[in-house]
Protein backbone atom coordinates (compact mmCIF):
# COMPACT_ATOMS: atom_id res chain seq x y z
CA UNK A 1 0.00 0.00 0.00
CA UNK A 2 1.05 3.57 -0.62
CA UNK A 3 2.98 4.68 2.46
CA UNK A 4 1.78 8.26 2.23
CA UNK A 5 -1.86 7.15 2.28
CA UNK A 6 -1.16 4.76 5.12
CA UNK A 7 0.34 7.50 7.31
CA UNK A 8 -2.43 9.98 6.48
CA UNK A 9 -5.13 7.40 7.11
CA UNK A 10 -3.67 6.89 10.59
CA UNK A 11 -2.98 10.54 11.31
CA UNK A 12 -3.83 13.35 8.94
CA UNK A 13 -2.32 16.07 11.11
CA UNK A 14 1.27 15.69 9.85
CA UNK A 15 2.42 18.60 7.69
CA UNK A 16 3.74 18.06 4.17
CA UNK A 17 7.21 18.95 5.50
CA UNK A 18 6.99 16.21 8.14
CA UNK A 19 5.66 13.68 5.65
CA UNK A 20 8.47 14.60 3.26
CA UNK A 21 11.03 13.77 5.94
CA UNK A 22 9.42 10.47 6.85
CA UNK A 23 9.23 9.32 3.27
CA UNK A 24 12.52 10.79 2.09
CA UNK A 25 10.85 12.75 -0.72
CA UNK A 26 10.83 16.48 -1.55
CA UNK A 27 8.09 18.49 0.12
CA UNK A 28 6.73 19.70 -3.22
CA UNK A 29 6.36 16.14 -4.40
CA UNK A 30 4.38 15.25 -1.27
CA UNK A 31 2.12 18.28 -1.75
CA UNK A 32 1.49 17.30 -5.36
CA UNK A 33 0.75 13.70 -4.35
CA UNK A 34 -1.76 14.78 -1.73
CA UNK A 35 -3.43 17.14 -4.19
CA UNK A 36 -3.63 14.38 -6.78
CA UNK A 37 -5.25 12.07 -4.25
CA UNK A 38 -7.72 14.79 -3.31
CA UNK A 39 -8.52 15.64 -6.93
CA UNK A 40 -9.04 12.04 -7.94
CA UNK A 41 -11.28 11.39 -4.94
CA UNK A 42 -8.98 8.89 -3.20
CA UNK A 43 -8.76 11.26 -0.24
CA UNK A 44 -12.30 12.37 0.58
CA UNK A 45 -11.68 14.51 3.63
CA UNK A 46 -9.90 14.92 6.94
CA UNK A 47 -11.64 14.69 10.30
CA UNK A 48 -11.03 13.88 13.94
CA UNK A 49 -11.76 10.41 15.28
CA UNK A 50 -14.21 11.27 18.08
CA UNK A 51 -15.18 8.89 20.83
CA UNK A 52 -18.81 10.00 21.04
CA UNK A 53 -19.34 7.70 24.01
CA UNK A 54 -17.35 10.23 26.04
CA UNK A 55 -19.36 13.23 24.83
CA UNK A 56 -22.53 13.92 26.88
CA UNK A 57 -25.77 14.09 24.88
CA UNK A 58 -24.07 13.00 21.70
CA UNK A 59 -26.97 10.80 20.72
CA UNK A 60 -27.26 7.16 19.69
CA UNK A 61 -25.98 5.09 16.82
CA UNK A 62 -27.53 2.09 15.16
CA UNK A 63 -26.59 -0.42 12.51
CA UNK A 64 -29.46 -1.22 10.18
CA UNK A 65 -29.58 -4.25 7.94
CA UNK A 66 -31.76 -3.83 4.90
CA UNK A 67 -33.11 -6.41 2.51
CA UNK A 68 -33.84 -4.72 -0.77
CA UNK A 69 -35.46 -5.74 -4.06
CA UNK A 70 -32.87 -4.91 -6.75
CA UNK A 71 -34.19 -2.93 -9.67
CA UNK A 72 -33.88 -3.61 -13.38
CA UNK A 73 -30.68 -2.09 -14.85
CA UNK A 74 -29.71 -0.18 -11.74
CA UNK A 75 -29.36 -3.07 -9.28
CA UNK A 76 -28.84 -1.68 -5.78
CA UNK A 77 -27.29 1.65 -6.78
CA UNK A 78 -30.47 3.67 -7.07
CA UNK A 79 -31.86 2.70 -3.68
CA UNK A 80 -28.42 3.06 -2.04
CA UNK A 81 -28.04 6.55 -3.48
CA UNK A 82 -31.49 7.55 -2.24
CA UNK A 83 -30.70 6.27 1.24
CA UNK A 84 -27.36 8.04 1.48
CA UNK A 85 -29.18 11.31 0.90
CA UNK A 86 -30.73 11.22 4.39
CA UNK A 87 -28.81 13.31 6.96
CA UNK A 88 -29.34 10.62 9.58
CA UNK A 89 -27.36 8.12 7.54
CA UNK A 90 -23.62 8.07 8.21
CA UNK A 91 -22.59 5.14 6.04
CA UNK A 92 -24.10 2.85 3.44
CA UNK A 93 -22.49 -0.36 2.19
CA UNK A 94 -23.61 -3.14 -0.12
CA UNK A 95 -22.99 -6.47 1.56
CA UNK A 96 -22.59 -10.06 0.53
CA UNK A 97 -24.62 -12.41 2.72
CA UNK A 98 -28.05 -12.63 4.26
CA UNK A 99 -28.97 -8.95 3.74
CA UNK A 100 -28.12 -6.38 1.11
CA UNK A 101 -27.37 -2.95 2.55
CA UNK A 102 -25.80 -2.07 5.87
CA UNK A 103 -26.35 1.45 7.21
CA UNK A 104 -24.92 3.35 10.12
CA UNK A 105 -27.51 5.77 11.40
CA UNK A 106 -27.22 8.50 14.00
CA UNK A 107 -29.96 10.17 15.99
CA UNK A 108 -30.43 12.14 19.18
CA UNK A 109 -32.53 9.45 20.86
CA UNK A 110 -33.59 5.87 20.27
CA UNK A 111 -37.04 7.25 19.35
CA UNK A 112 -35.48 9.43 16.64
CA UNK A 113 -33.78 6.46 15.03
CA UNK A 114 -36.89 4.30 15.37
CA UNK A 115 -39.05 6.89 13.74
CA UNK A 116 -36.50 7.39 10.95
CA UNK A 117 -36.59 3.64 10.24
CA UNK A 118 -40.35 3.37 10.42
CA UNK A 119 -41.34 6.53 8.61
CA UNK A 120 -38.55 7.22 6.13
CA UNK A 121 -36.64 4.03 5.43
CA UNK A 122 -39.34 1.39 5.50
CA UNK A 123 -41.55 3.61 3.42
CA UNK A 124 -39.14 3.55 0.46
CA UNK A 125 -40.10 1.42 -2.52
CA UNK A 126 -38.11 -1.76 -2.73
CA UNK A 127 -37.30 -2.16 0.98
CA UNK A 128 -38.29 -5.71 1.90
CA UNK A 129 -37.24 -5.75 5.55
CA UNK A 130 -35.18 -3.91 8.14
CA UNK A 131 -33.31 -5.03 11.26
CA UNK A 132 -32.10 -2.33 13.62
CA UNK A 133 -29.23 -2.88 16.10
CA UNK A 134 -28.48 -0.13 18.59
CA UNK A 135 -24.85 0.29 19.61
CA UNK A 136 -24.21 0.14 23.34
CA UNK A 137 -20.50 0.82 23.51
CA UNK A 138 -17.77 1.26 20.96
CA UNK A 139 -14.40 -0.29 21.68
CA UNK A 140 -12.57 0.44 18.45
CA UNK A 141 -13.47 2.64 15.53
CA UNK A 142 -11.66 3.37 12.27
CA UNK A 143 -8.69 1.37 13.48
CA UNK A 144 -8.45 3.49 16.63
CA UNK A 145 -8.92 1.96 20.08
CA UNK A 146 -11.54 3.96 22.00
CA UNK A 147 -10.78 2.35 25.33
CA UNK A 148 -7.42 1.94 27.04
CA UNK A 149 -6.56 -1.71 27.38
CA UNK A 150 -3.66 -3.50 28.97
CA UNK A 151 -2.50 -4.49 25.50
CA UNK A 152 -2.47 -0.88 24.31
CA UNK A 153 -0.39 0.58 27.12
CA UNK A 154 3.35 1.04 26.75
CA UNK A 155 4.65 -1.17 29.53
CA UNK A 156 8.31 -0.84 28.61
CA UNK A 157 10.75 -0.24 31.44
CA UNK A 158 14.23 1.22 31.63
CA UNK A 159 16.26 -1.84 32.51
CA UNK A 160 19.87 -0.73 32.35
Amino acid sequence: MDKLLRILSENSSFTPAQLARMLGEPEDYIKAQIKAYEDSGVIRGYRAVVNWDNVPDSGVQALIELKVAPQQQKGFDEIAERIMGFDEVESVSLMAGSYDLLLTVKGETIQDVSSFVAKKLAALDGILSTATHFMLKRYKDNGVALVDTEASTDGREMVV
Binding site: R156, V159, V160
Partner: protein, 388 residues
Protein backbone atom coordinates in the same frame (compact mmCIF):
# COMPACT_ATOMS: atom_id res chain seq x y z
CA UNK B 1 26.81 -6.23 59.59
CA UNK B 2 29.60 -4.57 57.66
CA UNK B 3 28.44 -5.65 54.25
CA UNK B 4 31.24 -3.70 52.58
CA UNK B 5 33.61 -6.29 53.96
CA UNK B 6 31.44 -9.18 52.84
CA UNK B 7 30.89 -8.06 49.25
CA UNK B 8 33.75 -8.21 46.75
CA UNK B 9 35.70 -5.11 45.90
CA UNK B 10 35.05 -5.62 42.22
CA UNK B 11 31.27 -5.52 42.41
CA UNK B 12 31.34 -2.62 44.83
CA UNK B 13 33.73 -0.75 42.55
CA UNK B 14 31.38 -0.89 39.58
CA UNK B 15 29.49 2.33 38.97
CA UNK B 16 25.70 2.07 38.80
CA UNK B 17 24.35 2.50 35.27
CA UNK B 18 24.08 6.18 34.32
CA UNK B 19 20.83 5.41 32.56
CA UNK B 20 19.30 3.90 35.66
CA UNK B 21 20.32 6.77 37.89
CA UNK B 22 18.64 9.25 35.57
CA UNK B 23 15.50 7.16 35.32
CA UNK B 24 15.02 6.89 39.00
CA UNK B 25 14.17 10.60 38.72
CA UNK B 26 11.96 10.08 35.67
CA UNK B 27 9.97 7.39 37.45
CA UNK B 28 9.08 9.85 40.19
CA UNK B 29 7.44 12.22 37.68
CA UNK B 30 4.04 12.14 36.00
CA UNK B 31 3.12 12.80 32.37
CA UNK B 32 6.63 12.34 31.03
CA UNK B 33 6.97 11.74 27.30
CA UNK B 34 9.80 9.28 27.00
CA UNK B 35 12.13 8.75 24.05
CA UNK B 36 14.47 6.71 26.15
CA UNK B 37 13.53 3.07 26.01
CA UNK B 38 15.97 0.73 24.27
CA UNK B 39 13.60 -1.91 23.00
CA UNK B 40 11.14 -2.25 20.12
CA UNK B 41 7.67 -0.75 20.61
CA UNK B 42 6.29 -3.54 18.43
CA UNK B 43 4.90 -6.62 20.04
CA UNK B 44 6.32 -10.01 19.17
CA UNK B 45 4.61 -11.10 15.91
CA UNK B 46 1.48 -13.07 16.68
CA UNK B 47 2.51 -16.32 14.99
CA UNK B 48 5.67 -16.31 17.10
CA UNK B 49 3.71 -15.76 20.32
CA UNK B 50 1.35 -18.49 19.24
CA UNK B 51 4.20 -20.99 18.87
CA UNK B 52 5.20 -20.23 22.46
CA UNK B 53 1.62 -20.57 23.68
CA UNK B 54 1.18 -23.82 21.77
CA UNK B 55 4.28 -25.31 23.39
CA UNK B 56 2.85 -24.45 26.81
CA UNK B 57 -0.49 -26.01 25.91
CA UNK B 58 1.35 -29.18 24.98
CA UNK B 59 3.04 -29.10 28.35
CA UNK B 60 6.55 -28.64 26.97
CA UNK B 61 7.88 -27.14 30.14
CA UNK B 62 11.09 -29.08 30.74
CA UNK B 63 14.72 -27.99 30.41
CA UNK B 64 16.15 -28.12 26.91
CA UNK B 65 19.60 -29.45 25.99
CA UNK B 66 22.34 -27.20 27.42
CA UNK B 67 23.18 -25.66 24.06
CA UNK B 68 19.49 -25.18 23.22
CA UNK B 69 17.19 -27.31 21.02
CA UNK B 70 19.01 -28.73 18.02
CA UNK B 71 16.16 -27.53 15.78
CA UNK B 72 16.71 -24.00 17.00
CA UNK B 73 20.48 -24.21 16.53
CA UNK B 74 19.91 -25.45 12.98
CA UNK B 75 17.62 -22.52 12.25
CA UNK B 76 20.15 -20.11 13.78
CA UNK B 77 22.87 -21.49 11.50
CA UNK B 78 20.58 -21.20 8.47
CA UNK B 79 19.77 -17.62 9.42
CA UNK B 80 23.43 -16.67 9.90
CA UNK B 81 24.23 -18.14 6.52
CA UNK B 82 21.20 -16.68 4.75
CA UNK B 83 21.74 -13.17 6.10
CA UNK B 84 25.50 -12.82 6.69
CA UNK B 85 27.13 -15.72 4.81
CA UNK B 86 28.45 -17.18 8.07
CA UNK B 87 28.89 -20.94 8.33
CA UNK B 88 28.57 -22.63 11.73
CA UNK B 89 27.95 -26.19 12.75
CA UNK B 90 24.73 -26.42 14.78
CA UNK B 91 26.04 -29.38 16.79
CA UNK B 92 29.30 -27.92 17.99
CA UNK B 93 29.50 -24.18 17.34
CA UNK B 94 26.32 -22.56 18.66
CA UNK B 95 25.01 -22.04 22.18
CA UNK B 96 21.59 -20.53 22.90
CA UNK B 97 21.77 -18.04 25.77
CA UNK B 98 19.56 -15.92 28.00
CA UNK B 99 19.55 -12.89 25.73
CA UNK B 100 22.63 -11.53 23.99
CA UNK B 101 23.58 -10.29 27.47
CA UNK B 102 24.43 -13.72 28.84
CA UNK B 103 26.42 -14.48 25.71
CA UNK B 104 28.47 -11.31 26.26
CA UNK B 105 29.07 -12.23 29.89
CA UNK B 106 30.15 -15.82 29.30
CA UNK B 107 32.26 -14.90 26.26
CA UNK B 108 34.15 -12.30 28.31
CA UNK B 109 34.63 -14.76 31.15
CA UNK B 110 35.86 -17.48 28.77
CA UNK B 111 38.21 -15.26 26.81
CA UNK B 112 39.81 -12.93 29.30
CA UNK B 113 40.98 -12.81 32.86
CA UNK B 114 43.47 -11.21 35.21
CA UNK B 115 46.12 -9.23 33.39
CA UNK B 116 44.24 -9.08 30.09
CA UNK B 117 43.09 -5.87 28.51
CA UNK B 118 39.77 -5.70 26.67
CA UNK B 119 39.27 -2.95 24.10
CA UNK B 120 35.84 -1.34 24.18
CA UNK B 121 34.88 1.29 21.61
CA UNK B 122 32.64 3.98 23.11
CA UNK B 123 30.01 5.39 23.06
CA UNK B 124 28.50 1.95 23.41
CA UNK B 125 26.07 -0.14 25.41
CA UNK B 126 26.77 0.00 29.12
CA UNK B 127 27.46 -3.65 29.95
CA UNK B 128 30.89 -4.32 28.44
CA UNK B 129 33.01 -2.47 31.01
CA UNK B 130 31.39 -3.90 34.17
CA UNK B 131 31.32 -7.43 32.77
CA UNK B 132 34.98 -7.17 31.79
CA UNK B 133 35.82 -6.09 35.33
CA UNK B 134 33.82 -8.99 36.76
CA UNK B 135 35.76 -11.33 34.48
CA UNK B 136 38.88 -10.04 36.21
CA UNK B 137 40.24 -8.26 33.14
CA UNK B 138 40.91 -4.58 32.50
CA UNK B 139 38.65 -2.56 30.20
CA UNK B 140 40.39 -0.07 27.90
CA UNK B 141 38.07 2.29 26.09
CA UNK B 142 38.55 3.61 22.58
CA UNK B 143 36.78 6.84 21.77
CA UNK B 144 35.02 6.73 18.39
CA UNK B 145 34.35 10.07 16.72
CA UNK B 146 31.48 11.73 14.93
CA UNK B 147 33.80 12.75 12.07
CA UNK B 148 34.43 9.04 11.44
CA UNK B 149 30.69 8.34 11.59
CA UNK B 150 31.39 6.75 15.02
CA UNK B 151 33.09 3.83 13.30
CA UNK B 152 36.17 2.23 14.79
CA UNK B 153 39.21 2.98 12.64
CA UNK B 154 42.28 0.78 12.28
CA UNK B 155 44.47 3.65 13.56
CA UNK B 156 42.40 4.10 16.72
CA UNK B 157 42.52 0.37 17.31
CA UNK B 158 46.29 0.16 16.70
CA UNK B 159 46.94 2.99 19.15
CA UNK B 160 45.00 1.30 21.93
CA UNK B 161 46.78 -2.05 21.68
CA UNK B 162 49.40 -3.01 24.27
CA UNK B 163 51.23 -6.25 25.05
CA UNK B 164 48.36 -7.17 27.34
CA UNK B 165 45.53 -6.64 24.86
CA UNK B 166 43.53 -9.82 24.42
CA UNK B 167 40.12 -9.02 23.01
CA UNK B 168 38.25 -6.38 21.04
CA UNK B 169 34.56 -5.81 21.68
CA UNK B 170 32.93 -4.78 18.41
CA UNK B 171 29.47 -3.31 19.13
CA UNK B 172 27.96 -2.64 15.69
CA UNK B 173 25.30 -1.66 14.64
CA UNK B 174 25.85 0.56 17.61
CA UNK B 175 23.68 1.58 20.51
CA UNK B 176 23.59 4.61 21.11
CA UNK B 177 25.14 6.17 17.98
CA UNK B 178 23.39 4.17 15.25
CA UNK B 179 26.77 3.70 13.55
CA UNK B 180 27.51 0.63 11.44
CA UNK B 181 30.74 -0.89 10.15
CA UNK B 182 30.95 -1.60 6.43
CA UNK B 183 33.04 -4.30 4.79
CA UNK B 184 36.04 -2.03 4.07
CA UNK B 185 36.10 -0.79 7.66
CA UNK B 186 36.06 -4.36 8.91
CA UNK B 187 38.80 -5.48 6.53
CA UNK B 188 41.06 -2.73 7.90
CA UNK B 189 40.24 -3.73 11.48
CA UNK B 190 40.79 -7.40 10.68
CA UNK B 191 44.37 -6.80 9.55
CA UNK B 192 45.20 -5.18 12.88
CA UNK B 193 43.48 -7.97 14.81
CA UNK B 194 45.52 -10.61 12.97
CA UNK B 195 48.77 -8.70 13.28
CA UNK B 196 48.39 -8.55 17.07
CA UNK B 197 46.83 -11.98 17.43
CA UNK B 198 43.68 -10.66 19.15
CA UNK B 199 40.20 -12.11 19.52
CA UNK B 200 36.91 -10.34 18.75
CA UNK B 201 33.60 -10.34 20.58
CA UNK B 202 31.20 -9.08 17.91
CA UNK B 203 27.90 -7.95 19.43
CA UNK B 204 25.55 -7.96 16.44
CA UNK B 205 22.23 -7.77 18.26
CA UNK B 206 21.01 -4.93 15.97
CA UNK B 207 22.23 -6.65 12.78
CA UNK B 208 18.77 -6.85 11.19
CA UNK B 209 18.11 -3.16 11.71
CA UNK B 210 20.25 -1.35 9.13
CA UNK B 211 18.96 1.20 6.67
CA UNK B 212 19.59 2.72 3.28
CA UNK B 213 20.19 -0.66 1.66
CA UNK B 214 23.37 -1.22 3.67
CA UNK B 215 23.07 -4.77 4.94
CA UNK B 216 24.96 -5.70 8.05
CA UNK B 217 28.38 -7.28 7.54
CA UNK B 218 29.72 -9.56 10.26
CA UNK B 219 33.44 -9.37 10.96
CA UNK B 220 33.42 -13.18 11.10
CA UNK B 221 32.74 -13.16 7.35
CA UNK B 222 36.03 -11.33 6.66
CA UNK B 223 38.94 -13.56 5.61
CA UNK B 224 40.79 -15.03 8.55
CA UNK B 225 38.39 -13.66 11.16
CA UNK B 226 35.98 -16.53 11.74
CA UNK B 227 38.55 -18.36 13.87
CA UNK B 228 39.09 -15.24 16.02
CA UNK B 229 35.49 -14.17 16.52
CA UNK B 230 32.61 -14.89 18.84
CA UNK B 231 29.47 -13.72 17.04
CA UNK B 232 26.72 -12.69 19.44
CA UNK B 233 23.19 -12.11 18.30
CA UNK B 234 19.64 -12.72 19.47
CA UNK B 235 15.94 -12.33 18.99
CA UNK B 236 15.22 -9.22 21.05
CA UNK B 237 15.66 -6.43 18.53
CA UNK B 238 15.04 -8.17 15.20
CA UNK B 239 11.85 -9.97 16.20
CA UNK B 240 10.70 -7.66 19.01
CA UNK B 241 11.27 -10.45 21.54
CA UNK B 242 13.08 -8.63 24.36
CA UNK B 243 11.04 -10.13 27.18
CA UNK B 244 11.55 -13.69 25.99
CA UNK B 245 15.24 -13.34 26.91
CA UNK B 246 16.83 -15.32 24.14
CA UNK B 247 20.11 -14.85 22.30
CA UNK B 248 23.03 -16.92 21.13
CA UNK B 249 26.75 -17.10 20.54
CA UNK B 250 28.39 -18.72 17.53
CA UNK B 251 32.10 -19.47 17.69
CA UNK B 252 34.74 -22.01 16.61
CA UNK B 253 34.47 -25.39 18.37
CA UNK B 254 37.09 -24.90 21.14
CA UNK B 255 35.47 -21.61 22.21
CA UNK B 256 31.89 -22.85 21.81
CA UNK B 257 32.73 -25.82 24.03
CA UNK B 258 33.94 -23.57 26.84
CA UNK B 259 30.95 -21.23 26.42
CA UNK B 260 28.66 -24.23 26.68
CA UNK B 261 30.47 -25.47 29.78
CA UNK B 262 30.06 -22.13 31.55
CA UNK B 263 26.46 -21.75 30.34
CA UNK B 264 25.69 -25.26 31.59
CA UNK B 265 26.88 -24.42 35.10
CA UNK B 266 25.36 -20.97 35.44
CA UNK B 267 22.12 -21.24 33.43
CA UNK B 268 21.73 -24.92 32.50
CA UNK B 269 19.47 -24.17 29.57
CA UNK B 270 17.75 -21.09 28.16
CA UNK B 271 13.97 -20.63 28.53
CA UNK B 272 12.12 -23.48 26.84
CA UNK B 273 9.00 -21.57 25.76
CA UNK B 274 11.16 -18.85 24.25
CA UNK B 275 13.10 -21.42 22.26
CA UNK B 276 9.92 -22.80 20.67
CA UNK B 277 8.86 -19.29 19.76
CA UNK B 278 12.31 -18.50 18.34
CA UNK B 279 12.19 -21.51 16.01
CA UNK B 280 8.97 -20.12 14.55
CA UNK B 281 10.50 -16.63 14.30
CA UNK B 282 13.50 -17.87 12.34
CA UNK B 283 11.37 -20.03 10.04
CA UNK B 284 8.63 -17.58 9.20
CA UNK B 285 9.66 -14.19 10.54
CA UNK B 286 11.62 -12.56 7.69
CA UNK B 287 8.55 -10.60 6.58
CA UNK B 288 7.96 -9.34 10.10
CA UNK B 289 11.49 -8.01 10.27
CA UNK B 290 11.12 -6.30 6.89
CA UNK B 291 7.91 -4.59 8.04
CA UNK B 292 9.40 -3.33 11.28
CA UNK B 293 12.61 -2.22 9.57
CA UNK B 294 10.66 -0.14 7.08
CA UNK B 295 8.69 1.46 9.91
CA UNK B 296 11.87 2.28 11.87
CA UNK B 297 13.40 3.71 8.71
CA UNK B 298 10.51 6.12 8.26
CA UNK B 299 10.83 7.26 11.86
CA UNK B 300 14.60 7.56 11.51
CA UNK B 301 14.29 9.97 8.57
CA UNK B 302 11.61 11.95 10.38
CA UNK B 303 13.56 12.22 13.64
CA UNK B 304 16.95 13.02 12.12
CA UNK B 305 15.46 15.56 9.69
CA UNK B 306 13.55 17.28 12.46
CA UNK B 307 16.57 17.39 14.81
CA UNK B 308 18.75 18.88 12.07
CA UNK B 309 16.09 21.47 11.30
CA UNK B 310 16.05 22.61 14.90
CA UNK B 311 19.78 23.27 14.64
CA UNK B 312 21.12 20.16 16.37
CA UNK B 313 24.06 18.62 14.57
CA UNK B 314 22.84 15.04 14.11
CA UNK B 315 24.84 12.19 12.65
CA UNK B 316 22.67 10.12 10.30
CA UNK B 317 22.33 6.73 11.96
CA UNK B 318 22.50 3.72 9.65
CA UNK B 319 21.53 1.04 12.14
CA UNK B 320 19.69 0.25 15.40
CA UNK B 321 16.87 2.63 16.42
CA UNK B 322 18.58 5.59 18.02
CA UNK B 323 19.46 9.12 16.99
CA UNK B 324 22.46 10.65 18.74
CA UNK B 325 22.32 14.43 18.28
CA UNK B 326 25.18 16.64 19.41
CA UNK B 327 23.92 19.21 21.89
CA UNK B 328 27.18 21.18 22.38
CA UNK B 329 25.67 24.16 20.52
CA UNK B 330 23.32 24.65 23.47
CA UNK B 331 26.27 25.13 25.84
CA UNK B 332 24.83 22.48 28.17
CA UNK B 333 26.37 19.22 29.29
CA UNK B 334 24.53 16.02 28.31
CA UNK B 335 23.28 15.56 31.82
CA UNK B 336 22.20 19.20 32.23
CA UNK B 337 20.42 19.12 28.86
CA UNK B 338 18.47 15.99 29.78
CA UNK B 339 17.69 17.14 33.31
CA UNK B 340 16.42 20.54 32.17
CA UNK B 341 14.47 19.05 29.26
CA UNK B 342 12.86 16.65 31.71
CA UNK B 343 11.89 19.33 34.21
CA UNK B 344 10.93 22.06 31.75
CA UNK B 345 9.20 20.01 29.04
CA UNK B 346 8.72 16.60 30.61
CA UNK B 347 10.58 14.83 27.82
CA UNK B 348 12.98 12.06 28.81
CA UNK B 349 16.13 11.36 26.77
CA UNK B 350 19.26 9.56 27.88
CA UNK B 351 22.45 11.63 28.40
CA UNK B 352 25.19 10.52 26.00
CA UNK B 353 27.62 10.42 28.92
CA UNK B 354 25.80 7.30 30.16
CA UNK B 355 27.48 5.43 27.28
CA UNK B 356 31.03 6.43 28.21
CA UNK B 357 32.89 9.70 28.63
CA UNK B 358 33.07 10.09 24.86
CA UNK B 359 29.28 10.37 24.79
CA UNK B 360 29.50 13.73 26.58
CA UNK B 361 28.02 16.46 24.39
CA UNK B 362 25.41 14.09 22.95
CA UNK B 363 22.00 12.74 23.92
CA UNK B 364 20.40 9.48 22.91
CA UNK B 365 16.91 9.57 21.50
CA UNK B 366 15.18 6.28 20.77
CA UNK B 367 12.83 6.22 17.81
CA UNK B 368 11.16 3.00 18.72
CA UNK B 369 7.95 4.96 19.29
CA UNK B 370 4.95 5.81 17.10
CA UNK B 371 5.27 8.73 14.68
CA UNK B 372 2.64 10.60 16.67
CA UNK B 373 4.57 10.15 19.91
CA UNK B 374 7.82 11.17 18.21
CA UNK B 375 6.20 14.22 16.68
CA UNK B 376 4.87 15.42 20.05
CA UNK B 377 8.20 14.89 21.78
CA UNK B 378 10.18 16.59 19.02
CA UNK B 379 7.93 19.66 19.16
CA UNK B 380 8.66 19.94 22.87
CA UNK B 381 12.41 19.53 22.33
CA UNK B 382 12.28 22.24 19.69
CA UNK B 383 10.45 24.59 22.05
CA UNK B 384 13.01 23.82 24.76
CA UNK B 385 15.93 24.70 22.49
CA UNK B 386 14.25 27.87 21.28
CA UNK B 387 13.73 29.06 24.84
CA UNK B 388 17.31 28.38 25.96
Amino acid sequence: MEYERKLTESIQGIRPSGIRRFFDIVNEMDNVISLSVGEPDFKTPWHVREAGIRSLELGKTWYTPNRGFRELREEICRFLYRRYQLTYDPDTEVVVTVGGSEAIDIALRCLCGAGDEVLIPQPSFVCYEPLTVMAGATPVTIETKAENAFRLTAEELEQAITDRTKLLVLPYPNNPTGAIMERDDLVAIARVIEKHDLMVLSDEIYSELTYGGKNHVSIASIDGMRERTVVINGFSKAYAMTGWRLGYAAAPVPIAEMLTKLHQYCIMSSPTTAQYAAIEALRHGDQDIAGMRSEYDMRRRFVVGTLCDMGLDTFTPEGAFYAFPCIRSTGLSSEAFCTRLLHEKRVALVPGSAFGDSGEGYVRLSYSYSLKHLSEALSLIEAFIREL
